[in-house]
């Protein structure tokens, strides 16, 4: 007995030690519960970080695009009603009006980190007999590659786009049978064409994108799409990705140009992330509840088994408070030990999972994030859960009539 350990702690520890099998079972149960919570929380937050990183490194946070063209028939005459079918006009490729001025304005906003103009339109990429439809994007590499991290996804060659270069996806390279250094011809609906050299091949992890998307220099695209001096959209990145929608609304109000944030263009992704969060919370709550019930069940049995000891302690002058504390401490200790063991198990499982389960391209499935806060919060929560779960059995023990308890 350590002379600095209070009587209630000594008793609680001894009672747990004596009921060895019971204690081992419940601590194991709590550990598994905590391990599941730690594993799920860390993996899901890692997956979310990864998803968001992937989504946001392959697209801008906000796109400024010219407004749709609409037909406005002039027919409002007072007192006259007219039934008419108004056909949607064709959407020609148009430039964002005054884009240089808007770009300057945007660059002055502190929340905005990057603004890059692009020209995007459809084209036909051909080599010899083979041709494929593509979405051609003309970019300013210096700024655009800071928004879409194309250089990170280059699998062959380099992400260089000078006026005679083109960067294509792996699928298109396969379809056209081209490799770095080969030439292919890009033709647009305007009838213009240009022969460009494949400088790099990328793999963005999406077959459709790898088949369709090609990147050329801004001026090359402007010429091919007959939009000299114009841009079809301004791509923007911001500091706080979750504030993108608010910033988009501010930009729209300021410039009168349609601004779409990644949040509105990826509604399904957001729904999935939220559904995942909700599921995670529900699972954690139920695991926590079953852990609490397990602790309570074991302590209820322990209180019955120890009724004579409780009676003797009461006869020796133990107060109800002391008896209450002995059992609350047991609950807390079970929770805490379970949390420590469970956190270690959860962390080990995460490290194992992270090491052996990879994405199809060999990259990590989720970043390994072992935050100290998660472990501290889990330990605290498990201890509090243990104490709370012990409350009912502890109250029962404290309210034992010593005469009845001793008699058994």
């Amino acid at each position: 007995m350590n002379r600095w350990t209070p009587f209630e702690w000594i008793s609680a520890v001894r009672f747990l030690r004596e009921g060895r099998i019971q204690t081992i079972f419940i601590v194991t149960g709590v550990s598994i519960g905590v391990a599941v919570i730690v594993f799920m929380s860390a993996m899901l937050s890692g997956l979310q970080v990864n998803f968001i990183k992937r989504v946001l490194t392959s697209q801008p946070h906000i796109s400024l695009i010219p407004s749709m063209e609409v037909a406005r028939p002039l027919r409002h005459r007072p007192g006259m009603q007219e039934l008419a079918i108004v056909q949607m006009p064709m959407q020609r490729i148009r430039s964002v009006d005054q884009w240089q001025k808007i770009r300057q304005q945007l660059q002055q906003m502190p929340q905005i980190t990057e603004v890059s103009p692009i020209v995007s339109g459809s084209a036909l990429a051909a080599r010899g007999e083979a041709s494929r439809p593509v979405t051609m994007t003309g970019v300013e590499p210096a700024t655009f590659f800071r928004i879409v991290r194309l250089p990170d996804y280059i699998v062959a060659g380099q992400p260089r786009v000078t006026s005679s270069d083109i960067v294509i996806g792996t699928e298109l390279a396969k379809d056209l049978g081209v490799a770095v250094g080969d030439k292919l011809t890009v033709t647009t609906a305007t009838g213009r064409n240009n022969t460009l050299t494949v400088m790099g091949v990328f793999d963005l992890g999406n077959k459709g994108v790898n088949e369709r998307n090609v990147y050329v220099a801004l001026r090359t695209a402007q010429t091919l799409l007959n939009l000299v001096g114009g841009v079809t959209s301004l791509e923007v990145t911001v500091n706080d990705v979750y504030a993108a929608e608010i910033i988009a609304r501010q930009i729209q109000a300021m410039t009168n140009i349609e601004a779409d944030s990644w949040i509105t263009t990826n509604v399904q992704f957001f729904t999935a992330v939220n559904a995942q969060k909700t599921t995670n919370t529900v699972i954690r709550a139920f695991v926590g509840l079953s852990v609490a019930l397990g602790i309570a069940a074991v302590l209820v049995v322990s209180v019955i088994q120890r009724s004579k000891d409780i009676g003797i302690l009461r006869a020796m002058g133990s107060s109800r408070g002391q008896i209450l504390r002995i059992f609350l401490i047991q609950g807390g200790l079970i929770g805490l030990i379970g949390a420590v063991v469970g956190s270690a198990l959860g962390a080990a499982a995460l490290i194992f999972w992270h090491a052996y389960f990879r994405q199809a391209d060999g990259s990590e499935l989720f970043p390994l994030i072992l935050e100290r806060q998660l472990f501290i919060a889990t330990a605290l929560l498990a201890t509090v859960t243990g104490v709370a779960a012990a409350m009912a059995p502890a109250l029962r023990a404290a309210n034992f009539d010593p005469v009845v308890a001793i008699r058994g």
Partner: protein, 242 residues
Amino acid sequence: MADDSVRLDGVRKSYNVGTPTETEVLHGIDLTLARGEFAAVIGPSGSGKSTLLNIIGLLDRPTAGKLFVAGADTSVLDDRGLTRLRGRSIGFVFQYHYLISAFTAIENVMMPMLVEHTFPSDAIRRRAIELLERMEIAPWKDNPAANMSGGQQQRVAVARALAMNPGVVLADEPTGNLDTRSADGVFRLMREINVEKRTTFLLVTHNMNLARRCDRIIEVIDGRITSDERQAPHPVRQGGDD
């Protein structure tokens, strides 16, 4: 009066009060135990002996009448006050030792002192060793309580009852579960403590031989004291015969 350890004035005890099955088991007990008395309570099973012991031990409250322990009127004390008085003034020895199996012999003896002082100081440990030496079981002090013979366990229980140096020790069939030799040993030690410390002992027993070796025999039948005899001092009574 000031030298009384325990005094009962017209103590009554009923169970199921206010219900059709209300039963009175003690019908107005008047009893005084002077300091240093060594008394036996005898009587048939169900006569109310254990109830009387529980009331004197402050484990149960009388339905009517007054109980004074160490000069304090227990009727005015709340649960906390009763618990404190019980811890400081009364020691219990039961028929079965009722040691706490999670602790060693010495830790069981330290327990009442820990209940009072919370931390296991050296003084508490010394006191426990002293008591175990007095009970002639110091060599087994670190044995788990469950790993001892019946006689040894009961001696630990007596040492535990004496830990707080109580004025009164209440013993319910303290030797009822022991062989004659162990029983005599335990009885002799209780008697010696009684003489040395002037601790009041009240033993509930069915064993008339044991009762005859006490200073006073109180007979309880059907919840009433039917006889209360003081016996002449007997030289053998103190020494025991083991």
